[in-house]
């Protein structure tokens, strides 16, 4: 199937400048699923959609991660509903509906099929996307996520409490509290300045409390454990073995449920594995996606 891609349909897109590490990044807007979704496109090559996790927006992706992927793929970044520059309604945060947002964005960009990478809660949205719209997903990368339902292993109550009980704290204190369960302690100790800068980037468009609450609620309700056996897209599952927020056993469960899924357990990293081991993650993801593309091309030429 020919992949259609029209990134610069100026008649549809509005542009807003916002600074990013000294550069200008142009966020564009799409009317999708009844709301306005902010997105950006980088690089060239096969399309790769990145879906961010709970409470974070597209600015949170590590810059070197995006730049490295953009050398090999057309990277589509967007702000989930409730975050960044996208609309922040008080409804519609069910992860199946957020997957519909992604599907609508692909429609808007006239991308028939894309590789999809979901991090944490974004991984849950990616699962909903591949289960509900399998024809839109070429390959799937699930990072530090879970499948929900009875097979999910949730974090200890003390960890959830650190993530969720943030009332009365100012945003910086809340973020520093969350670090303790999202970053690996040794990494955090050695990279406090880098983590602070990351935090400042994430703060530029803070997520309102109601959106964070509704995303959290949707993540709790989410369950694809019954549906994952029907996934036919090649899937890479990766996680840090020190993740206390979404224990790595969840990735093993998903690898059992998704046919032929590859599981990579990254030693010595925690929930923010993409930030802690960016180069390794880029290599893993890039190689996996290119390998599956080659396999698909070979199969097509054999069939042809």
């Amino acid at each position: 199937m020919k992949e259609r891609h029209k990134a610069d349909s100026t008649e549809k897109l509005q542009v807003t400048d916002r600074p990013l590490a000294g550069r200008s990044i142009k966020m564009r807007y799409a009317e999708v699923n009844g709301i306005k979704i902010a997105f950006d496109i980088r690089g060239s090559g096969p399309p790769l959609v990145l879906i961010m996790g709970y409470r974070l927006n597209s600015r949170a992706w590590p810059l070197d991660f995006i730049e490295a992927l953009a050398e090999r793929f057309t990277v589509v970044l967007f702000d989930n509903r409730g975050t960044g520059l996208s609309d922040k309604p008080t409804f519609g945060y069910e992860l199946s509906n957020m997957a519909k947002d992604v599907c609508g964005l692909l429609d808007h960009l006239e991308i028939a099929r894309a590789n999809v990478l979901g991090y944490s809660m974004g991984g849950a949205i990616a699962q909903e996307l591949v289960c509900r719209y399998p024809e839109r997903v070429i390959s799937l990368v699930l990072c530090a996520t879970l499948c929900g339902g009875r097979r999910a292993i949730y974090a200890r109550p003390t960890v959830i409490s650190i993530m969720h009980d943030l009332d009365g704290l100012d945003p910086a204190d809340a973020a520093r509290r969350i670090w303790t369960v999202t970053y690996e302690p040794k990494y955090l100790a050695a990279n406090v300045d880098k983590v602070e800068r990351q935090m400042q980037r994430e703060f530029e468009t803070p997520t309102p409390l109601h959106a964070a609450d509704l995303q959290f609620q949707a993540f709790v309700d989410f369950d694809t454990s019954e549906a994952l056996s029907s996934v036919r897209s090649p899937t890479l599952i990766m996680t840090g073995d020190g993740d206390v927020l979404i224990p790595p056993r969840n990735s093993e469960v998903m690898a059992e449920l998704i046919p032929d899924a590859q599981l990579v357990m990254l030693r010595g990293f925690a929930h923010r594995v993409i930030w802690e081991s960016t180069a390794q993650c880029v290599t893993l993801i890039g190689n996996f996606l290119e390998r599956t593309q080659e396999t698909a091309n070979a199969a097509r030429s054999y069939a042809g």
Partner: protein, 236 residues
């Protein structure tokens, strides 16, 4: 009295309750406290039996999964203010408060030591509901028990800017008029006849005095809270 359907049955019928004559109108305002006590807890003659029955109910419900947050829908962080019933206070509502927090809501303390006269609740409830709404940026839900409902409705009427809904767990008798613009949701013991004209009631099995720890009532409460839409405060 007709047997009510199990509260867990999603197709359960909603029950209407008829109006009773107020005892206080017969005995006069001096007997107000006794009147409230009798209306809430029944005649002293039956208290030993009621206490025994309540103890049995507590034991039978003690291992209910609802207390552990299972079989209930997770919350969306709404601020809630608990309003104690007759002779109740923050302490008696602590289990419900902790449970609501555990399933994803933000219960606010109302700093009420004991509810002897519901008129005295208005001020602390106003402070609590307004404070919670301003802190979270959303309108508050008040969860009121028996006589506390009267105060909750009074405060909700005045503080419409900060309170969107009132949930009654056990009705006050006599039942006050519901102010226009305030949404009232009712959970009541199926065995109790009370005063509630023109309102739908979610009946639950169990004694009325223990509604504040009744797992069936909590489960319905979680469902009602979940269905109430978030109303952001107008900050403009």
């Amino acid at each position: 009295m007709r047997r009510a359907a199990m509260p867990d049955d999603p197709g359960r019928p909603r029950k209407r309750i008829s109006r009773l004559t107020s005892v206080s109108t017969i005995l006069g305002p001096a007997a107000g406290f006794m009147d409230e006590t009798l209306r809430t807890f029944g005649l002293p003659l039956f208290w030993p039996y009621d206490s025994l029955e309540a103890a049995v109910e507590v034991v039978l419900n003690s291992s209910n999964a609802v207390y552990r947050g299972q079989n209930v829908r997770y919350g969306d962080g709404k601020p809630v203010v608990l309003v104690p019933g007759h002779l109740g206070g923050d302490v008696t509502l602590a289990p419900l408060s902790m449970w609501l927090h555990a399933i994803g809501y933000r219960p606010a303390k109302s700093d009420i030591l004991i509810n002897i006269n519901d008129r005295s609740l208005d001020k602390p409830l106003t402070v609590a509901s307004r404070g919670a709404a301003l802190r979270i940026g959303r309108k508050t839900i008040m969860i009121a028990f028996d006589t506390g409902l009267r105060s909750a409705l009074r405060v909700a009427e005045v503080e419409r800017e900060y309170v969107s809904d009132v949930i009654a767990l056990g009705l006050s008798d006599p039942m006050p008029a519901v102010p226009t613009g305030v949404r009232l949701h009712i959970i009541e013991s199926a065995r109790r006849a009370s005063v509630v004209p023109d309102h739908e009631v979610n009946p639950v099995q169990g004694s009325r005095a223990l509604l504040y720890v009744n797992p069936a009532a909590w489960r319905i409460l979680a469902g009602i809270l979940r269905e109430i839409p978030i109303t952001l405060l107008d900050r403009s």
